[in-house]
C-alpha cells in the first residue's frame, strides 16, 4: 500500500484528480498518522470525521464528473485560532475551552470550498502569543526534530507550533498558520518546512481569533514552495466582512512559479548582520546568496536602518492591540466564567480572566494596558507607530534597489523546550528578523536551507514588495531547488 503520508498537497490533489487513489484513502492514512502521533501534542482536538466527510464529497464529485477544487482531497490541519463552526475553537486558552462557534472563519471556509478536509485543530501558543509553543493551556507541542544524540524535547517554534510539528512530522500535508510577528516563519524555519505570511489584507481575518489586528495575517505552512502556493491561492481572497481585506483578484501563484531569477535583484540588508549571530546562520545566509546568484539574480546590499527599533516597536504595538482585543473575554457571553461566592461584576471579570488567561497572555495585556495609559500613550504607542512608519519607509527605499530581500528567518535554530521559557526577553529576540516585515505588512516566507551541526533545520527568509507573493515564492523555489533540503526527523513518537 502506498504511504500517502509521504505525499504533499500537489501530489495528493493531482493523484485524486487523476484517479490514482481516492481522497478517502488519503484521509484515512493521515487520520491514522494523527492518531499515532499524540506524543507530539500537535493537535488540541482531532476531527477525523470532518476529514473523511470532505474526502467522501470529493470522491463523489469526481465519480459524478463534477469539477474539483484547488485542494480536492487534501486533508489539512487547522490552527486552533480559526473559528470552525460547531468545532471547539480555543486559541489554546482555558478561557475559551469548550467554545464552539456558530460560524466558520472565511479562510477555513475557503479551504473547505476548495475541497480540503480537516484533520483537527492544531495546538499553538495561547492566543498566538509565544515563540516556542510553551504557552498553550493544552500543553507544549514537541517538535518531531531532536538534536542529534539527545532525547530532549525541542521547540517546534511558535505560535504556529502545532502546525509546524504536524507538517514536519508528516501527519498533515499542510496546515494553516497565522503570523503576527513571525508566527508562521519562525516555526517553519525550526522544523524544516515552508511557510508564507502574505501581504497584510490578502487573507481575511474574519473568524480568526484576534491577537494584534494590524499585524495578524493568515498563511499556509507546507513541505515545499509549490504546496504553499496552492494553499495560499485557496486561502486568500477579498472578504467584505473584513474592512482591511484587499479588494483584488487572487493571482494564480502556482501557475506563475518560475525559479529563473535572471534580471532580478536580491537585496541583502546590512543591518541584519548582528553581533553574536550564530555562525551557522550566517553560513546559511551566504549559501542562500549563492543559490539565488546561481538562479540568475544579482545580489545587492541594501540598508534597512531602523531594523533595531522594529522589535521594541512591535512589543508596544502588538500588546497594545492585544490588551484591547482580549477585553471581550469577560465571562459574560461565552467561554469560561468564574463566579466566586458573592461576587459582583468586577469580581467576576477579575476572577474569570485571572483563571482563564495564561502568564504570557497576562504579561502582554499588562504591557499593552500600560503603553496605552494616559501619560504614556505618546511616549510609547505614538512613538512606536512612528517607528513603524519608518520601518515601512526603509523597505520602500530598499525595494527601489532590489526585487526581493534575503535574510535569515531566525537568529538561532530550535532550542529545547523549557530552555528560554523563564526569559521572555530572550524569547522575544527570536523574532528579531521576522518582525520588520510584519510591521510593514509585507509578504515574507521561510524556506528550509540546511541543517546545522546538531542536525536541526535552519530557514532562510524572503521578503517581497507588497502584493508580490509571486516574487517571494519564485525566489523561495530557486532556493528550494538548489538547497536540496531532504532531511526529515526520525520518527520517535
Amino acid at each position: 500500500m502506498n504511504d500517502f503520508t509521504n505525499l504533499g498537497v500537489k501530489a495528493i490533489r493531482d493523484g485524486v484528480a487523476g484517479g490514482d487513489f481516492s481522497a478517502r484513502e488519503v484521509a484515512e492514512a493521515f487520520n491514522a498518522a494523527v492518531a499515532g502521533a499524540a506524543e507530539l501534542n500537535a493537535f488540541i482536538l482531532t476531527t477525523p470525521d470532518h476529514a473523511l466527510a470532505a474526502a467522501e464529497r470529493v470522491d463523489a464529485d469526481r465519480a459524478a464528473g463534477k469539477p474539483l477544487g484547488k485542494l480536492a482531497g487534501v486533508p489539512i490541519g487547522m490552527k486552533d485560532l480559526f473559528a470552525t463552526r460547531g468545532v471547539q475553537t480555543t486559541a489554546a486558552s482555558h478561557i475559551l475551552e469548550g467554545f464552539e462557534p456558530e460560524y466558520e472563519s472565511t479562510v477555513s471556509q475557503n479551504l473547505w470550498n476548495a475541497g480540503a478536509g480537516m484533520l483537527g485543530k492544531l495546538n499553538l501558543d495561547q492566543f498566538a502569543m509565544g515563540s516556542s509553543n510553551e504557552t498553550s493551556y493544552f500543553g507544549n507541542v514537541s517538535s518531531p526534530w531532536r538534536k542529534e544524540g539527545t532525547n530532549a524535547a525541542m521547540s517546534p517554534g511558535g505560535s504556529s507550533g502545532g502546525s509546524s510539528a504536524a507538517v514536519s512530522a508528516r501527519i498533515a500535508p499542510a496546515a494553516t498558520g497565522t503570523d503576527t510577528g513571525g508566527s508562521i516563519r519562525q516555526p517553519a524555519a525550526f522544523t524544516g518546512i515552508c511557510g508564507i505570511k502574505p501581504t497584510y489584507g490578502l487573507c481575511s481575518r474574519w473568524g480568526v481569533v484576534a491577537f494584534a489586528s494590524s499585524l495578524d495575517q493568515a498563511g499556509p505552512m507546507a513541505r515545499d514552495v509549490t504546496d504553499c502556493a496552492i494553499m495560499l491561492e485557496a486561502m486568500a481572497g477579498f472578504d467584505p466582512k473584513d474592512a482591511t481585506s484587499l479588494d483584488m483578484p487572487v493571482p494564480a501563484w502556482e501557475a506563475g512559479l518560475d525559479a529563473d531569477l535572471r534580471g532580478k535583484k536580491v537585496g541583502i540588508p546590512r543591518e541584519y548582520r548582528m553581533d553574536g549571530t550564530d555562525p551557522e546562520i550566517l553560513d546559511s545566509w551566504e549559501r542562500g546568496k549563492e543559490w539565488l546568484r546561481d538562479a540568475g539574480a544579482e545580489i545587492v546590499e541594501v540598508s534597512l536602518p531602523h531594523t533595531k527599533y522594529a522589535l521594541p516597536a512591535y512589543y508596544i504595538v502588538a500588546p497594545a492591540e492585544a490588551s484591547s482585543n482580549l477585553a471581550r473575554y469577560d465571562g459574560v457571553r461565552y467561554g469560561m466564567r468564574e463566579l466566586p461566592e458573592g461576587a459582583g461584576l468586577q469580581d467576576m471579570y477579575a476572577a474569570t480572566r485571572a483563571a482563564g488567561f495564561g502568564d504570557e497572555v497576562k504579561r502582554r495585556i499588562l504591557i499593552g494596558t500600560y503603553v496605552l495609559s494616559a501619560g504614556f500613550y505618546d511616549a510609547y504607542y505614538n512613538q512606536a507607530q512612528k517607528v513603524r512608519a519608518l520601518v515601512s519607509r526603509d523597505f520602500n527605499e530598499a525595494f527601489k534597489q532590489c526585487d526581493v530581500i534575503l535574510a535569515p528567518t531566525t537568529p538561532t535554530a530550535s532550542f529545547p523546550l523549557g530552555e528560554m521559557s523563564d526569559d521572555p526577553l530572550a524569547m522575544y529576540l527570536n523574532d528579531v528578523f521576522a518582525v520588520p516585515a510584519s510591521l510593514a505588512g509585507l509578504p515574507a516566507m521561510s524556506v528550509p536551507a540546511m541543517t546545522n551541526k546538531d542536525g536541526l533545520p535552519l530557514g532562510l527568509q524572503l521578503v517581497g514588495k507588497a502584493f508580490d507573493e509571486q516574487g517571494v515564492l519564485n525566489a523561495g523555489l530557486a532556493i528550494e531547488q538548489r538547497a536540496g533540503f531532504s532531511a526529515r526527523p526520525e520518527k520517535w513518537w
Binding site: 480559526f82 473559528a83 475553537t89 486559541a91 475559551l96 467554545f99 462557534p101 456558530e102 460560524y103 472563519s105 481575518r205 474574519w206 473568524g207 480568526v208 481569533v209 484576534a210 494584534a212 489586528s213 494590524s214 467584505p240 466582512k241 473584513d242 474592512a243 482591511t244 497594545a320 492591540e321 490588551s323 484591547s324 482580549l326 477585553a327 471581550r328 473575554y329 469577560d330 459574560v332 457571553r333 461565552y334 461584576l345 468586577q346 471579570y349 494596558t369 496605552l372 495609559s373 494616559a374 500613550y377 504607542y381
Partner: protein, 498 residues
C-alpha cells in the same frame, strides 16, 4: 447677553453650560454590523455575532450612518472632515461586549459648526444667539442592563449595542436653563428635518450629558460637573438649575466643586455623584486597527448636500417673506416636521382648489392649521378620528369657505362631521344644509321683511344711530337661520338703508 443670574449669599453668579447630545442615527442596521435597529424588539433579538463580540468578529462600517452624520454636520454649517478615523475607548462593563466602544476621539467626522436660537422674551432669552458646536463624532451605542428580572442577577439586552450614535458637542456657550432648552429643541428640530435622528427623547434615541459650572460674571470658567444621560428638555433645564444652585451653595459655604460625573434622578429633580475624578476611567484610546481611516469623496459630499431639505431657519424666513405669514405663525409651523409637512400639503391642495397663488391663501390655511383645526379636534376628543383629517378634505372645506359657500362656523361644523364620520365635506354641506345663502333675491326679500317689521329702528338708524347696523345684520341672519353669506347680507343692507 443673557441676564440670567443666580443670587447667592455673596453676590451674583453666572451659569456656564455645555451640552453633549447623543443622537441615535436613523438607519436600518447598526454602525458596524448588519443587525437591525428597530426600537422595542424582544431582548437580544437584534444582535449579530459582531455585536456580541464573538471571537474573530470584525466591524464593517455602515456608510448610511456616515451619510446621516455628514448631512447633520452640513445642517449646522459645520466643517466636514474628509479624513477621519475611529478610535477604541476601552472600559469594562456588561453592556459593552467588546470591552471597548468604537468612537472618534482624535479625528472626528465633523468639526466646528453653529446653531442659532431665537429670542424668546417670555422664556428669558432676550435676543437671538449663536451657540458654537465643537464637533460631531460617530460612535457605537452600548447595550442595556436590566436589574429587575432576577433577585440576585442583572440581565443584559444587547439590541441597542452597536447602534450608531452621533455625539454632538456644543461649546460652553449657554448661560441659562432657557438657552439650553432652546438649544436642545432647536437641535432636535434640525435632526428631525434632516431625518438623521427621530429625536425621540423618551425612547432614549436622543439624550444629553449636561456640563455645568458657575462663575462670577466675567471671570474665568469654574470647575464643571457632567450629568449623564438626561432624556428630556425639561430635565436638562432642571439639572442646570439644580447643579448651579448646588455648586453655588458649595462654594459659598467654603467648599469647592469637584470635577465629577453625576446622575440625575427625575423623581427628586436632584443629581448625585456617579464617579469622582479619582475613579475616572483611563479609556486608553487608540486608533481601531480593525478599521481603515474614513476618507470621503467629493461626489459623496455633494450627494449629502443635495439631499438636505430646507432647514428650519430658511423655512421660517420663506414663510414670512414669500408666504406673508406672521412671525408667530411661521415659527409655530416650522418647529416640527409633522406640522410643516401637514401645512405645506394643505396649502398646496387649497391653493390648487381655489386656483390662487399660495401666498394669497397662506394665512387662511395657517390659521386653520394652527388654531381652528386643532381646536375642533381637541374639542371632539375621542369622538374624532384624526386620520380622517386628510389634506383633500380640509382643502375642500377651505375652498368652500374661500368661495363664500360656507361660513367659518359652518366650516367647523363640517370638519366635525368629517372627523366623526369620514364623509365628503361637499356632500355634508349639501345634505346637512351647511351652506350659506348667496341668493341675493332671497336675501333681499328677507331683508325687506326685517326692515318692514322694524321701521322704528330704520328711522333711528337713518337719523344717525349707526350702531343699529349690527342689529339689522343679526335679525337678518336670524331669519336666514345663520346661513346667509355675511358679505352679501351686509352689502344689501347697506344699499337698502342708504
Amino acid at each position: 447677553m443673557s441676564k440670567y443670574r443666580i443670587q447667592g449669599v455673596t453676590g451674583e453668579w453666572e451659569v456656564v453650560i455645555g451640552l453633549e447630545v447623543h443622537a441615535q442615527v436613523v438607519s436600518k442596521s447598526k454602525l458596524f454590523s448588519g443587525a437591525a435597529t428597530a426600537f422595542g424588539a424582544e431582548p437580544n433579538a437584534q444582535v449579530s455575532f459582531v455585536d456580541a463580540a464573538m471571537p474573530g468578529m470584525l466591524p464593517v462600517l455602515n456608510a448610511e450612518c456616515i451619510r446621516q452624520a455628514v448631512r447633520t454636520g452640513m445642517a449646522i454649517e459645520a466643517q466636514i472632515n474628509k479624513w477621519s478615523r475611529f478610535d477604541r475607548k476601552n472600559y469594562f462593563y456588561a453592556d459593552l461586549p467588546q470591552g471597548y466602544q468604537i468612537s472618534q476621539l482624535y479625528h472626528p467626522l465633523v468639526g466646528e459648526g453653529s446653531l442659532h436660537i431665537e429670542a424668546d422674551e417670555k422664556a428669558g432669552i432676550p435676543e437671538d444667539k449663536v451657540i458654537g458646536i465643537e464637533r460631531i463624532h460617530v460612535e457605537q451605542d452600548a447595550g442595556k442592563l436590566m436589574h429587575d428580572q432576577h433577585p440576585t442577577m442583572s440581565y443584559v439586552d444587547l439590541n441597542r449595542c452597536g447602534v450608531a450614535l452621533m455625539e454632538i458637542v456644543s461649546k460652553p456657550d449657554m448661560r441659562s436653563p432657557a438657552e439650553a432648552g432652546a438649544y436642545v429643541r432647536k437641535l432636535r428640530s434640525i435632526l428631525r428635518y434632516v431625518g438623521s435622528c427621530d429625536g425621540n427623547m423618551e425612547e432614549g434615541s436622543m439624550r444629553a450629558d449636561v456640563n455645568v459650572s458657575v462663575r462670577r460674571p466675567g471671570e474665568e470658567f469654574g470647575t464643571r460637573t457632567e450629568t449623564k444621560n438626561v432624556n428630556s428638555v425639561r430635565f436638562v433645564m432642571q439639572v442646570i438649575e439644580y447643579e448651579a444652585n448646588r455648586q453655588i451653595d458649595l462654594i459659598e459655604s467654603g467648599g469647592a466643586v469637584e470635577q465629577e460625573t453625576r446622575l440625575f434622578d427625575p423623581g427628586t429633580g436632584t443629581t448625585r455623584t456617579m464617579r469622582s475624578k479619582e475613579d475616572a476611567h483611563d479609556y486608553r484610546y487608540f486608533p481601531d486597527p480593525d478599521l481603515l481611516p474614513l476618507e470621503l469623496e467629493d461626489a459623496f459630499l455633494e450627494e449629502c448636500r443635495a439631499s438636505l431639505p430646507e432647514l428650519p431657519d430658511a423655512k421660517r424666513a420663506r414663510y414670512v417673506g414669500d408666504l406673508g405669514l406672521s412671525e408667530y405663525n411661521a415659527r409655530e409651523l416650522t418647529a416640527e416636521v409633522e406640522t410643516f409637512a401637514r401645512f405645506e400639503t394643505l396649502l398646496a391642495a387649497t391653493a390648487k382648489g381655489i386656483g390662487k397663488p399660495e401666498r394669497e391663501v397662506a394665512t387662511q390655511v395657517a390659521n386653520w392649521a394652527l388654531s381652528i383645526a386643532p381646536g375642533v379636534i381637541n374639542a371632539l376628543g375621542a369622538e374624532a378620528n384624526p386620520a380622517r383629517a386628510t389634506a383633500e378634505a380640509q382643502a375642500a372645506i377651505l375652498d368652500m369657505q374661500a368661495k363664500g359657500e360656507i361660513s367659518g362656523g359652518q366650516a367647523k361644523e363640517i370638519f366635525e362631521l368629517v372627523l366623526k364620520t369620514g364623509r365628503d365635506p361637499q356632500e355634508i354641506a349639501e345634505t346637512e344644509g351647511l351652506k350659506q345663502l348667496n341668493d341675493t333675491g332671497a336675501i333681499e326679500s328677507v331683508i325687506d321683511e326685517v326692515l318692514a317689521a322694524n321701521s322704528d329702528k330704520v328711522e333711528e338708524y337713518r337719523s344717525g344711530k349707526d350702531k343699529l347696523f349690527g342689529f339689522f345684520v343679526g335679525q337678518t341672519m336670524k331669519a336666514l337661520q345663520g346661513k346667509g353669506n355675511p358679505a352679501v347680507v351686509n352689502q344689501i343692507l347697506k344699499d337698502k338703508l342708504g
